[in-house]
């Protein structure tokens, strides 16, 4: 889910990308790559096509950066570009999208309608994804309770550090440290699995 604080980090990275920092844009792509792919999978069936159109969408968004002025959240602007890219892609192939809907809402509320449409995972990615999910869940379950609580409140509930500190009755610095340690513990267990199912070479 996209949280209020997501908009802040996105804005910080967008500003830098607009100022000429391509790396800042790449960080945004890492963040949104799977969300965009998931969105497009409701319009396009083939996994390779989904990835191609996803990449095309990010490139289009990069080129359009000069026109982004923050009237909407970055991600709704990005999603709009992705959907238009997908529609154009399909029409050049003479195909209609699986779902035709109006994605006008600025805050992305209407995008939730797409959640009702099943997306098209391949069996292989479905299996690998389940393995990753169960690994992550297993690691979280085995964390010391304060780390588990902090990462759960952050990742699943989207609470800010300040709110988590209030819930856990500890300083914000402690929240930050606990979330970091939880992430590292998860990543350590995840890396061997990612080596098996395939991972991006360092970019």
């Amino acid at each position: 889910m996209i949280q209020r604080t997501d908009r802040d980090i996105d804005q910080e990275l967008v500003v830098r990308a607009q100022a000429g920092d391509k790396r800042a844009f790449e960080l945004l792509v890492v963040k949104y790559q799977r969300r965009v792919a998931r969105l497009l999978s409701r319009l396009i069936r083939d996994q390779n096509e989904i990835e191609d159109v996803s990449q095309e969408s990010f490139i289009k968004a990069y080129r359009a950066l000069p026109s982004f002025r923050g009237e909407s959240a970055f991600y709704t602007w990005l999603y709009r570009i992705a959907i238009n890219t997908a529609k154009n892609h399909l029409s050049t192939l003479g195909r209609r999208p699986q779902l035709l809907a109006d994605y006008e809402d600025e805050e992305g509320e209407s995008l939730d309608a797409a959640a009702q449409i099943p997306d098209y995972h391949t069996p292989e990615t479905e299996l690998s994804n389940r393995q990753i999910v169960s690994t992550v869940n297993a690691v979280v379950d085995e964390l010391p309770s304060e780390l588990r609580t902090a990462i759960t409140l952050r990742e699943m509930e989207g609470l800010s550090y300040e709110d988590i500190a209030a819930v856990m009755n500890c300083p914000i610095g402690t929240v930050r440290s606990r979330i970091f340690r939880a992430r590292e513990a998860i990543a350590d267990k995840l890396r061997p699995l990612l080596d098996i199912v395939g991972r991006d070479k360092r970019w």
Binding site: D8, Q18, K22, R23, R35, R38, P66, E184, G198, W203
Partner: protein, 161 residues
Amino acid sequence: MKEKLSALMDGELDVSEIDGLLAEMKRKPELSNAWYDWHQASDSLQEHPLLSPQFMQRFSARLAEEPTVVAPQRLKRSSVMKKLLVPLTAAASIAFVGVAVWQSNTVLNIAPSMVAVQSNHKVVAKAPAVRAYLAAHSQESGNVLAERDIVYANFGTETVR
């Protein structure tokens, strides 16, 4: 430094520390790896699909081919720009000009091109040769408008009150 990256991921890092962290990321692959791995774990928990392993590698290659966008903008509701803007009088308006330039092999120095004018004056965009300077990311004076050249361009002019 990695803990700062974790805070950045949550939008909880102090704005003043972001540039330093991004610079550090360019030097240390382990930071980029962490950004990637943490988002992978987070996305998996929310059941976003897996992508093929070379997705980011392919994308990075494509992005490297693109001309670098340089178009400093004023973003609405952005706390970053609030720190950069010169305090305005009620009568002043500011025009922002965005330019897109082609990347050359030499390092470009491009400043945000901003003109502060009185509100009853219309900003006329002239069409000279475009000279631009990249805004130094440093915020030592907090006023990036001080002693910068003013650049006019043909397109993308916006007057904001």
